[in-house]
């Protein structure tokens, strides 16, 4: 693959966003802009209906992929960050207490910081040094005091650790609490059945493991869960004369013109993943294990997170006692055309948990489209840089 400047790029930053996008996704985005370019839900002429059907069908494809029986329970939003803000600010009030894992991304911790200033009580449950949150620790925290919600990611964007969401759901519900999940690194990289997971809210990125365009995401809300919307405004449908926001799903959470091209692309991606997801995930996991084993075997490298034989989404971070993470990332890019990300990955809590808050780390994220040659090149390049 090549970047815009014509250089060859081995893209290993799927934890940030997937690239390249499947051709079907790009074609759907282009079609939405060239053939279905009207405003969905804002008219009943041919092209407006075509745009409306694009959104309707994309929602249905995503519901099928994610195990959601009624697609109205999936709201399109601008991305996982908006979804996290919506579920937190729409459900939590001053005086509520929440139990939250120490591995959360800023998409969770920053809204919580704001809510805490208004009186939200936050208890943090520490993950282990690999970044895994243990259900028993969550249970102890939930038992300690009345809890409105447990907040836990599905997988870590730093170590790739997969959290025991189904167990945490049982614990939360047993104690009358909600389970709110940041699924940014889960959907697509993991087979996600939201009904089986029994979560109350699940925030989804459209452009990472789901392979859609940037600028679109989803929030799943359990049927009947009353979450106050972040925004009010036009929804296109009936009852325009009402001054209050419609309370029906999905329009309650979709004020304003939606990102139709993004939704179209995400819908196309969902159809691809429904058909090929199992095979793609198996390939991804095989390559990721090879990458992790290869990097772990290098002298002077410490790979953070679960061992290669333990479950993980295909992202890992490493540090070296020979070179700072930013230097490693820079040399990988400039000398080898390998795209990785250094720093704190918008997750200072996670880096504090695993002991890298002072240095950061270099993250390698695999995804659809990566090859064995990419993995071998990455391991070889890191070995050379640190030799």
């Amino acid at each position: 693959m090549t970047e815009s400047d014509g250089r060859r790029c081995i893209y290993l930053d799927h934890g940030a966003t997937s690239w390249p996008k499947p051709p079907e996704v790009i074609e759907a985005v282009v079609a939405a802009m060239t053939e279905q370019g009207a405003n969905p839900g804002r008219g009943a002429y041919g092209m407006a209906l075509a745009a409306s059907r694009v959104v309707f069908e994309a929602r249905g494809a995503l519901a099928r992929l994610l195990g959601v029986p009624d697609s109205r329970d999936l709201a399109f939003v601008s991305g996982c960050t908006e979804a996290c803000n919506l579920m937190l600010k729409g459900l939590l009030a001053p005086g509520d207490r929440v139990v939250v894992s120490s591995m959360e991304h800023n998409a969770i911790t920053r809204p919580l910081h704001l809510l805490a200033a208004a009186g939200l009580v936050i208890d943090v449950v520490e993950a282990d040094p690999a970044g895994v949150v243990h259900a028993g620790d969550i249970e102890r925290a939930v038992r300690a005091a009345r809890t409105r919600a447990v907040i836990c990611q599905h997988a870590s964007n730093v170590t790739g650790a997969i959290q025991p969401i189904a167990d945490v759901a049982d614990i939360a519900h047993e104690h009358g609490a909600l389970l709110l999940v940041d699924g940014a690194q889960g959907a697509g990289h993991l087979e996600v059945d939201l009904t089986a997971l029994d979560v109350d809210a699940y925030a989804i990125s459209g452009h990472k493991g789901l392979l859609g365009p940037q600028g679109v995401g989803l929030l799943y809300l359990r049927p009947g869960l009353d979450v106050t919307e972040l925004m009010q405004g036009g929804t296109g449908g009936g009852s325009s004369e009402d001054e209050s926001q419609p309370q029906g799903r999905p329009e309650r959470y979709e004020a304003g013109t939606p990102n139709t091209p993004g939704i179209a692309g995400l819908g196309a991606a969902a159809r691809l993943l429904f058909e090929h997801g199992d095979a793609w995930r198996a390939e991804e996991q095989m390559l990721f294990r090879e990458l992790k084993e290869g990097l772990s075997a290098l002298s002077g490298v410490r790979v953070l997170g679960p061992r290669p034989d333990e479950p993980s989404v295909p992202s890992l971070s490493l540090v070296s006692d020979r070179l700072d993470p930013d230097k490693i990332a820079f040399m990988l890019d400039r000398r080898y055309g390998i795209a990785v990300r250094s720093g704190l990955h918008c997750a200072p809590w996670a880096h504090r948990t695993i002991g890298t808050i002072g240095t950061g780390a270099v993250r390698f994220g695999l995804g659809h489209g990566n090859t064995r040659d990419d993995v071998l090149a990455a391991v070889s390049a890191v070995a050379e840089i640190l030799s």
């Binding site: 969905p40 839900g41 008219g43 009943a44 209906l49 409306s52 059907r53 309707f56 929602r59 697609s71 109205r72 929804t235 296109g236 449908g237 009936g238 009852s239 325009s240 004369e241 419609p246 029906g248 999905p250 329009e251």
Partner: protein, 80 residues
């Protein structure tokens, strides 16, 4: 040449999503349906309504029930 108005049954829904869901279910059932701008007879001036031959109304209601898409309003209109 101007066509003579005909009588139709029209259905209004809580949202465009619901209207399109109902349209899809009706088409899957082999029933002819046309999406139209919501007429004032439905009590709302925005959104999408579904227009059908009144002779299909009974069959449509069976489809709505099985699809879980209950119309919010129903009316008869004369339309072209």
């Amino acid at each position: 040449m101007t066509a003579e108005p005909r009588r139709f049954v029209v259905y209004g829904f809580a949202s465009v999503h619901d209207a399109l869901g109902a349209e899809s279910a009706l088409r899957d059932a082999g029933l002819a349906v046309t999406a139209i701008p919501s007429p004032r007879e439905l009590g709302e001036l925005c959104g999408v309504a579904l227009r059908m031959d009144p002779a299909l109304a009974s069959a449509a209601e069976v489809v709505f029930a099985s699809a879980g898409t209950t119309p919010r309003a129903t009316a008869q209109i004369d339309d072209l």
